[in-house]
Symmetry: C2
Subunit: 235 residues, 2 copies
DNA sequence: ACAAAAGTGTTCCTAATACACCCATGA
DNA sequence: TCATGGGTGTATTAGGAACACTTTTGT
């Protein structure tokens, strides 16, 4: 019980690990860092780090997020799962609380800052990751991808991956990239408009062909029907 | 990064807390224990305890579960969320990984075993909990209730709360108790039969009126359509 | 024979799917 | 003027919701 003297127990280390997603070139990508130190030196791993004694888990995640991507706060962040296998870190007991984050590619500026132990930072397609990842990070990423796909079907989370203004086709491509399936243009638009979270702007995006209308994402007041709109099977 | 020397950091304590649900008397109930020690002496709290260095989080949860309820393994157990507010424990930094468990009431035998720090154990209706719970346990329970309700709508998790053989009315009452809404008998049966996870047995349950057929829950091979069956709005 | 719970079938309606054509622009 | 992506409407179908009556038993 809680009532036991906490100091009587040997304590595990606690870290947060981040699966930072973005979508570029029609592909879902995750940000990985190359480790410069043992264990798993030279292997790709999730960004993350130790939770400090005076910060909440989410604060820790957001701090690491900023350090790693150069984005200061505001990014979508959600707790994923806590991985606590006693052998997941070969050195000592480390329990990690995994988060996933969604980054609008236009704002992300991945970089190596401060961490001499990181020798490289790179976006990897979520479906062709390096074969050998550090720790149990492959498992964590796979889990995050599953959760993201699922979440996409019943929430408006996808907008986090787009700039403020976007066209419906861009939104559709985003969904297709994450779900890895083609969607029907007409049905997709019907669904997304039914959600009532799109605001038509007066601006148009010029391209080589007919200009496309730009939309903005608006968080509406909680609607009971909102969470029921799903993307499953929009084909 | 992971690469830092783990021992250089002060470590938080890590516990697991359990929201153990059952349904009796047409009500969803959660098992609470009365604390015999500070902090929160005399207050009701979730069962739980420190994670040992050599056991996984789930192992820790299952161990506590058995110690608290006298059920040896096999119970449905799912990781809920990890709560890590630095001030959630007034003494020291304690991060807790919350789990929720589902107990068939016929097998549960709540008791006080071994823990001199526990002065009482009791099932409380999830919707009328003691006003003052220890730590952030009210938040944890509320979250668990939300998750359970949600889970009920797209998985077969409800069967964990019933004995092996049950009638369809018993199953419906269970759903009604958790969702806190009346369901339409005909639609409920259609849905639940469409799930394809019920096996009609030849046995009947005798009562004061027309005997009811007893069913058994069968885990079918993974069916792609399975997860789409929902209970929302079965009214 | 009747009270009470078990059990079942049909209609209505909404939402999901599948599908094809016109529109506006730049080259 | 034509190639290309932008944009829209409709018919069909499946599933969710609403609803009422018959059956079986114990008393």
């Amino acid at each position: 019980m809680k009532a036991y003297d906490a100091s009587a127990f040997e304590k595990p280390s606690v870290t947060v690990d981040l699966v930072i997603f973005t979508v570029t070139d029609g592909e879902l990508k995750a940000l990985l860092i190359k480790r410069g130190q043992e264990p798993f030196a030279g292997k790709w791993a999730l960004p993350g780090g130790f939770v400090r004694m005076d910060e909440s888990l989410e604060d820790a995640a957001r701090r690491e997020l900023e350090e790693e991507t150069g984005i200061d706060g505001g990014m979508y962040l959600e707790q994923l799962y806590t991985f606590g296998d006693p052998k997941r870190d070969p050195r000592t007991r480390v329990i990690t609380v995994a988060y996933f984050a969604l980054a609008d590619p236009s704002t992300v500026n991945a970089r190596v800052t401060g961490h001499e132990q990181i020798t490289d930072v790179k976006w990897f397609p979520a479906h062709s990751l390096p074969p050998e990842l550090a720790f149990d990070h492959r498992k964590i990423i796979d889990y995050a991808v599953k959760r993201l796909k699922n979440k996409l079907e019943y929430t408006a989370v996808g907008f986090e991956l787009l700039p403020t203004l976007f066209t419906l086709t861009e939104l559709q491509r985003l969904y297709e990239a994450i779900l890895r399936e083609k969607l029907d243009k007409r049905n997709f638009r019907k669904k997304v408009e039914a959600m009532g979270i799109l605001e038509k702007t007066s601006r148009m995006k010029k391209g080589v062909h007919r200009p496309a209308r730009l939309y903005r994402f608006v968080r509406t007041k909680p609607r009971s029907t909102f969470s029921r709109v799903r993307f499953e099977g929009v084909r």
